[in-house]
């Protein structure tokens, strides 16, 4: 505990240098701005910023990216409330109540509640991050390859089964992501595979070009398709958006509950902010005294959704720091950022790079404080970002994508990869394949395969430890249940439907 405190003080000292604070604040503000522009997402911003951080000191780079992470989740609140367009996927639930409330003439109230809830969620999960990351990392050093293999297997099934849309499409997207990660030099043998005799493929299809492709380029193609769509808007308010002390008390229980749900969902590897806000929203509705208000402008609904989606940020950083397993899509990019700076995330990060760890934790706190200040002070101004003409913005973003994909390793091959995955991502979205499992599969598959094969090297070819080691067996059992359960419930639902239609 004492180590945690000294570490935190050290981390705060890093972030509170003028440059450190500047980067956190810059990241948070940029994140809020991007979150407030429909069609852009935090994942896109962070993927595009990554190449620019190469020559920054590692701590500055990481705190900048964490600021963006915190900011982008919150910024989406503005467009969700005023335009009924979720700025990021995690703000979908907020539109259900924020927009009706804004149309009913209380946009300031809706935004104020959302901002306060975001801050509460951020702070609740931050405490868990501070207290849990180190003990969990100490526990995780005892994880052997079989534990990691089954943990990742569980994460993959989890993300496929809880992502929106059909289970089959979630599975396909995850498997496709895995497949796409396989070309290149196979770490478990040191030999190339699936390179089709092109030497560029020795490096494989890299995370950043693939990511910029499926998130940014595909989104731009989709945006061009409905560029003419008119945006319904509600004018923001001129009055103060600060909420009163009484509101904190009234919504305190809801905030605490939603914050805990968001944190726990965030900790689960692979499951991000969208799911956290859905679960918290549903729970809030179930326990509410006025569930009929939900969807028509319920204050509780806004609070539940925004608390939970911000709480997932801190929660998702826990497995990233403690185990090197991303808790969400943005965490997957953050892992890439650490690797670029020659930092290997994993259980010994607390020993090898304590400064980075505590700088990340401190940045998460400062990011939330900056977010509160910026959002309270300039929400009306930020809301105007949604009206930048998209005819101008989209082509400029494509140029940024090209720079981002090329700047990583200075080969044009990566730019082509980005374009191809832009088209693939667009097509997948058109056919309603979720992209979350794709990216998580892409990031986790190499780890999963090499852990399995390392385990086999250790045992001389036997996989029995998967069943005999308690932790590994538990993860495996959970994975199987997660995979089978939706199928069973789907089958029961259909049977019930068939029964009622036959009866009717």
């Amino acid at each position: 505990m004492e180590g945690v405190l000294t570490g935190l003080v050290g981390g705060l000292a890093i972030v509170f240098t003028p440059m450190g604070f500047f980067y956190v604040a810059l990241g948070t503000i940029l994140g809020i701005s991007v979150g407030a522009i429909p069609g852009l997402s935090g994942a896109m911003l962070i993927a595009l910023t990554l190449p620019l951080t190469y020559y920054m000191p590692a701590t500055d780079a990481i705190v900048l990216l964490i600021g963006m992470y915190v900011g982008s989740i919150t910024g989406g609140l503005i467009t969700a409330t005023l335009l009924r367009m979720p700025g990021t996927p995690s703000n979908v639930m907020t539109t259900f109540d924020g927009y009706p409330m804004a149309r009913a003439g209380k946009p300031g109230r809706a935004l104020g509640l959302g901002i306060a809830a975001s801050f509460a969620g951020g702070i609740i999960s931050w405490w868990f991050l501070l207290l849990l990351a180190k003990p969990l990392s100490i526990w995780a050093t005892r994880f052997g390859p079989f534990e990691y293999f089954t943990l990742i297997l569980m994460a993959m099934v989890l993300i496929a089964s809880v992502s929106q849309g059909s289970l089959i499409k979630g599975l396909i997207a995850g498997l496709l992501g895995m497949l796409v990660s396989m070309p290149g030099v196979d770490p478990s043998s040191g030999m190339p595979r699936l390179t089709f005799d092109t030497y560029h493929m020795n490096s494989g299809l890299k995370l950043l070009p693939v990511l910029i492709g499926v998130f940014a380029v595909s989104q731009i193609i989709a945006d061009v398709l409905d560029i003419g769509r008119k945006i319904e808007r509600v004018e923001s308010t001129k009055s103060s958006i600060m909420i009163k002390a009484g509101d904190w008390v009234r919504h305190g229980g809801n905030m605490l509950r939603s914050g805990l749900i968001g944190t726990l969902v965030g900790i689960l590897p692979g499951v991000g902010a969208s799911i956290g806000s859905v679960i918290a929203y549903t729970t809030a509705k179930n326990v509410s005294k006025t569930p009929e208000q939900f969807g028509k402008g319920s204050e509780e609904g806004i609070v539940a959704s925004e608390t939970a989606n911000n709480a997932t940020v801190g929660g998702a950083l826990i497995p990233l720091i403690a185990m090197g397993i991303p808790g969400s899509v943005i965490d997957a990019i953050l892992i890439g950022a650490l690797m670029i700076h020659s930092i290997q995330p994993g259980p010994t990060l607390f020993i090898t790079n304590p400064d980075i760890v505590y700088a990340m934790i401190a940045a998460c706190l400062i990011g939330n404080l900056v977010m509160l200040a910026v959002m309270t002070g300039s929400v009306n101004w930020v809301a105007k970002l949604a009206y930048i003409p998209r005819t101008f913005m989209l082509p400029v973003i494509i140029v940024c994508c090209v720079i981002g994909a090329f700047g990583l390793d200075n080969v044009m091959f990566d730019v082509w990869v980005m374009l191809i995955f832009g088209v693939i991502g667009f097509l997948l979205e058109r056919a309603r394949y979720p992209l979350g499992p794709f990216v998580i599969g892409f990031v986790l598959a190499p780890l999963m395969e090499s852990k399995l094969r390392t385990g086999l090297m250790m045992t001389g070819g036997s996989i029995t430890p998967i069943f005999t080691r308690p932790v590994a067996a538990t993860f495996l059992a959970i994975a199987i249940i997660l995979l089978v359960w939706p199928l069973v419930s789907e089958w029961r639902r259909r049977k019930a439907e068939a029964g009622t239609s036959a009866a009717g």
Binding site: Y54, Y55, M56, A58, T141, R142, F143, G144, P145, G184, V185, P187, S188, S189, G190, M191, P192, Y199, H200, N202, S203, G204, K206, I340, H341, S342, Q344, G346, P347, T348, I351, T352, L408, D409, N410, V411, S450, R453, T454, M457, M458, G460
Partner: protein, 329 residues
């Protein structure tokens, strides 16, 4: 980075004003900026070596033209091949290390060091075999005796086909009948993690990694570290790890250091190669490079010309059989 860039421009402007500062023997070369390709992403050891020399050459006006360092990340074969196929005009160079020989001998690459013009060797870092503190092994002899008593049972963490794998093979070859079971773990940090969690029994780390993982900034032992080094594979003891015997002292012919090599495409004019080698040699004497060597526990060796060619051939003879053992056949 801004300051570096500014320095770069200032340096160039100064030199443009007074070209006489260039080495007279090579007045023709260089006429335009020099490009050095690092076939790894930014931040790695190769990148740091290259950029340290870049800064040293520029800040001390050793060459009249700027040096641009270009990271071609991903697998090192991509960047290496780009240089091999580049125009041999004397303005493209490559920095790489023993992975090039490992890749060729292991069957991974269809080209090798002979397909380049060697320019120089600037510094080297050496390795240390490491085990857990509670392993019961206090010396390399203990470790190898155990590996010989029960072959194929001690788990040795490595990045298969890479430097630490080759070093592990050299280590086991120094004891008759000793045999490790090599498992894919990865680079230095990953092996440190696996050792900490008792997933593996042994591995090798670079001297800098050992110091980073086991010492506190003031030089005392880090109580949280659960690993200990057993020996040092350099030709002489490492001043920062003075208690660590060299493998040669232990009577084992295991000298394994990783040299930083500079290459040019085949057919590059001799004046460019000699000119660049001279610039590197001058840069190696600067404070920037000396400090870097000191911080990263490098041996400050410098080789060029015939000595370099002989050193490369000698390294190849030692590494080829080891890399073949490490590679997949």
């Amino acid at each position: 980075m801004r300051t570096t860039t500014t320095a770069l421009f200032a340096g160039t402007a100064l030199l443009a004003a007074g070209m006489s500062m260039a080495t007279p023997a090579h007045a023709e070369w260089p006429e335009k900026p020099i490009r050095v390709i690092v076939p790894f992403g930014p931040g790695g050891t190769s990148d740091q070596v290259t950029r340290t020399f870049q800064i040293a050459i520029q800040e001390n006006d050793i060459l009249p033209q700027p040096i641009n360092v270009l990271n071609v990340g991903g697998h090192y074969s991509v960047g290496a091949r780009q240089v091999m196929e580049a125009e041999p005009d004397g303005y493209t160079f490559l920095t790489l290390h023993i992975a090039l020989m490992g890749g060729e001998a292991g069957g991974m690459l269809d080209f090798g060091y002979r397909d380049f013009e060697p320019v120089a060797t600037t510094g080297q870092f050496c390795l240390t075999p490491v085990v857990r503190k509670d392993s019961g092994f206090d010396t390399v002899d203990d470790l190898l005796a155990a590996a010989a008593a029960e072959p194929d049972s001690l788990l040795f963490g490595a990045n298969l086909g890479a430097i630490n794998h080759m070093a592990g093979i050299m280590l086991q070859n120094s004891e008759p009948d000793a045999e490790f079971r090599f498992v894919q773990i990865g680079g230095g940090t990953a092996n440190f993690t696996a050792l900490t969690g008792a997933q593996i029994n042994a591995s090798v780390l670079s001297a800098a990694e050992v110091i980073n993982f086991t010492k506190l900034p003031d030089g005392s032992d880090n109580p949280e570290a659960q690993i200990k080094p057993l020996a040092y594979t350099g030709p002489e003891r490492n001043p920062k790890l003075p208690d660590l015997p060299t493998m040669n002292e232990l009577g084992r012919d295991v000298e394994f250091c990783v040299d930083s090599w500079w290459f040019a495409p085949k057919g590059t004019p001799a004046e460019a190669i000699e000119g660049f080698a001279a610039a590197l040699e001058a840069a190696a004497q600067t404070e920037a490079v000396q400090t870097f060597y000191e911080e990263r526990t490098f041996n400050p060796i410098f080789l060029a010309g015939d000595a370099l060619a002989a050193s490369l051939d000698e390294t190849w003879e030692r590494i080829e059989p080891v890399a073949k053992q490490a590679g997949q056949q």
